[in-house]
Amino acid sequence: MKLIFEQGGAGHCLSLLPECDVPVVRPSKVRAEKAPLPQVSETELVRHYRTLSKQVYGVNDGVYPLGSCTMKYNPKINEDMAALPGFTDVHPLQPDHTVQGCLGVLKEAETALCSITGMDRMTMQPAAGAHGEFTGLLLIKAYHRSRGDAARTKIIVPDSAHGTNPASAAMAGFTVVNIPSGPDGCVDVEALRKAVGPDTAGLMLTNPNTVGIFDKNILEITEIVHAAGGQCYYDGANLNAVMGVVRPGDMGFDVIHLNLHKTFSTPHGGGGPGSGPVGCKAHLAQFLPGPVVEAAGDGSLSLVQPEQSIGRVRTFQGNFLVAVRALCYLKTLGREGIPDASKHAVLNANYLMHLMKADYDMAYDVTCMHEFVMDLGHMKHETGVSAMDIAKGLLDLGIHPPTMYFPLIVHEALMVEPTETESKETLEEVAAIFHQLAVTAHTDPEALHNAPSKTPVSRLDEVAAARHPILRWS
């Protein structure tokens, strides 16, 4: 595919802007030359991006069982509502009385998400899940500081955690204490007991965890941390298994983040924008990034600075249009639809796991939540076909592969999350394709080492890309 810089040329342009209707003023110093941007006609521009968009695979192109990412269908009504000029054409610094609708969106979304999670307050400022983690950890830091407890410098993270957890803890100035998982993939309660102490600031946990299992000891775990004086942080990456069924607040968590772009059906945009709201219990609310939306007695809404705010983590009110989309989803599903969606996410995962068991080893062969992890170690040993090879084989058969090589505690891992928006028929088709690949692994492993062959490019040389980086056209 040609780059946009390899098309058009001098004189190719769109006709967009008018002549200046006031005297022209030039800055006293200007850049040496104009920015050497592409010069293309409108036809060339539109065709170029149309060509690019054909080499992309989205949820609306087909099934996307990417574990830990909750690639559910992105409803159309959400997009329509987020495109309303009454939202898109509003300046973020307009006076409060002119943005009651926007503040209403934020307030309604906050209220609904607090109900679902068992939290008291929530901010929409964080722009993504990792951003939310950082924000939530700063709340914990501010909380301990406000009590004069400067000795709490450690955050405990299980070895099965997403990489963002330890990275966020480090960014928030904490030392990370990794604790091993037990043989069932859950928190090793004894290891946790030994790890906590007067230096414990808190624990970060995903529940259901990254192997798709609900930690049945959750109350004991959060109690151990609380008894040691720490706070409990809930990584909401896997909330899609339990929304409306069980609440992080009832599990003993003090602060959480959500991923609106996973659980609440907003699109991922090829890597963002997302939204990572942070919710907390009342004792942490005064530390939230300001401002937050408050309702007056007459129902009018305004932006108010929390008493001991940690400060902003982003300009304005975060990725507002993502909150609009999530609110549409919350309104659509409502109190019956929210738990119904989670229960069917769990049903679909268990059904697919059941269909695949004959061909693939499960890392943990128990009833799973919304996702499950397959362990291809045995297959690799027998046939030489790795998790990577199976993933690449799927590309030729029109399925987005599961998450590869995560969690790190399973070596040849494929992590499968079908979501609730796939039909029984689709799940059966997926299982049939996986079966076909398992057969190929035994009969023609070479074909899988060489996969994919039907995609626009074959396997790319990532080693060369990293050793001698070419990061721009020139």
Binding site: L3, I4, C13, L16, K29, R31, A35, L37, P38, V46, Y49, S53, V56, Y57, L66, N74, M81, P85, G86, F87, T88, D89, V90, H91, P92, V99, C102, I116, H131, P166, A167, S168, A170, M171, G244, V245, H261, G269, G271, P273, G311, R314, T315, F316, Q317, N319, F320, T332, G334, E336, K343, H344, A391, H400, M404, P456, V457, R459, P469, L471
Partner: protein, 441 residues
């Protein structure tokens, strides 16, 4: 209720029976029973059909005031957005894709990011760009973190950067236990003498905004030289439209260039989604946070693109990673790329020139007609502050609002006005006459 689950009750029974359980609830056997929500515990309204949701949310949108004329910027700018931009970025395969973890089926997104990285370099003059961060403020905060090492630990920020950017830098620094020193302003610009005096041997970097929060054009090259003389890195936060005309960060000696990308084709949207762009010199490449796309070849020697230099990132380096960023603002980066390609070298410069020309007209008319003096005398780009008392400022804003005009942002000492290519002379003349009336001229 509305529903996106395609499983029918009879299919549900078949699936449950295949798994070997008798109800959906039985799938939650590992959850302690008294923790499970009971009917009525979930405090949410009943679900709604699409028609009801549309009515509900449209009603919310209609409660907002849409101003016909916007003379306010202060970090978010209403610019002209070419039709081609919207048509491209609404394509659903682009909207509904995940991060391109599987390059063979994601070449479209990867190439678009590679092109975006190139265009950001072309705009800023820098060597390398990442694939985006959340917004201009987090880009500035991440840039300060790039510059720290064991010996150079303090961050210096001009008092003339956007107050919310300063606040975000401070919040991030609360996390990393970093000292932030604010370099004072003099006459609406960074005080160069104060900067010289403040920078010590432990200075990691100096962050400057160009044009600054008050719209003033800073003497960036000289301030950068002061930072470098003290051994500190120089970070410039630039407005991308102004960057099409003003000397580039590279020409001013910046080590890192960042900025809020919203003016590049993104609507105001009450503050987001926006775009943080980050570019740096080759020497700083390994310190850049977040995703980066690189060019390579496939097994047949065809050109292709992959996410590269990943071992810097959180999913590999975990607590040793310099940043935790994972999801970024890919679709906004695409928007910016399509915008820049649509505008081209001439269109970008024309937009910048229209902005600064219109702002100068507005400023001169507010001075001569409404007798509102400028608070600062220095050169400005497309924003400027007029001096007035808070009561007068409020009266001006109220009178403008009554006519569908969003006036300048209240700041200390007066109002911060902005004009872009979208406002016409006629609109400005109307605003000026309203202000004139309020001011009793």
């Amino acid at each position: 209720m509305g529903r996106y689950v395609p499983i029918t009750p009879s299919e549900e029974r078949e699936m449950l029976s295949a798994i070997g359980v008798d109800s959906l609830e039985a799938l939650y056997e590992s959850v302690p029973h008294d923790m499970l929500l009971k009917d009525g515990d979930l405090d949410l309204p009943a679900g709604k059909c699409e028609l009801e949701v549309r009515a509900d949310v449209t009603n919310l949108a209609e409660q907002n005031t849409r101003f016909r004329t916007v003379l306010r910027g202060a970090g978010a700018y209403r610019h002209f957005i070419p039709a081609a931009v919207g048509s491209v970025v609404r394509r659903e395969e682009l909207v509904t894709a995940y991060t391109p973890y599987q390059p063979e089926i994601s070449q479209g997104i990867l190439q678009s990011i590679f092109e975006y990285q190139t265009m950001i370099c072309q705009l800023t003059g820098m060597d390398v760009s990442n694939a985006s961060v959340y917004d201009g403020a987090t880009a500035a905060a991440e840039a300060t973190a790039m510059c720290k090492d064991r010996k150079r630990v303090k961050v210096y920020v001009s008092a003339c950067v956007h107050p919310q950017v300063l606040e975000v830098v401070k919040t991030y620094s609360f996390g990393s236990n970093t000292d932030v020193i604010v370099v004072p302003a003099k006459d609406g610009r960074t005080d160069a003498e104060a900067l010289t005096g403040l920078l010590g041997a432990d200075a990691a970097c100096f962050l400057l905004q160009q044009p600054n929060y008050f719209g003033q054009v800073e003497n960036a090259e000289a301030l950068g030289a002061i930072a470098h003389a003290a051994g500190a890195k120089f970070i410039m936060s630039v407005n991308p439209i102004a960057a099409a005309l003003l000397p580039t960060p590279a020409e001013c000696g910046a080590d890192v260039a960042v900025g809020e990308g919203q003016p590049l084709g993104m609507p105001l949207s009450f503050g987001g989604p926006y775009l943080g762009f980050m570019a740096a010199t080759n020497a700083m490449l390994r310190k850049l946070p977040g995703r980066i796309v690189g060019q390579t070849e496939d097994r047949e020697g065809r050109r292709g693109y992959v996410l590269t230099l990943s071992a810097r990132e959180q999913h590999i380096r975990r607590e040793k990673a310099s940043s935790n960023i994972c999801s970024n603002e890919a679709l906004c980066a695409l928007t910016a790329a399509v915008y820049m390609a649509a505008m081209g070298p001439d269109g970008m410069e024309q937009a910048a020139s229209l902005c600064t020309s219109k702002a100068h007209y507005l400023a001169s008319q507010l001075q001569s007609e409404a007798k509102l003096p400028l608070l600062y005398e220095g050169e400005f780009f497309h924003e400027f502050v007029t001096a007035c008392k808070p009561e007068t400022a409020q009266a001006i804003l109220d009178a403008l609002e009554a006519k569908g005009i969003l006036g300048g942002q209240p700041v200390e000492g007066g109002l911060l006005w902005c004009a872009t290519e979208l406002v016409t002379k006629t609109e400005m003349d109307q605003a000026i006459s309203i202000v004139k009336e309020v001011c009793g001229q």
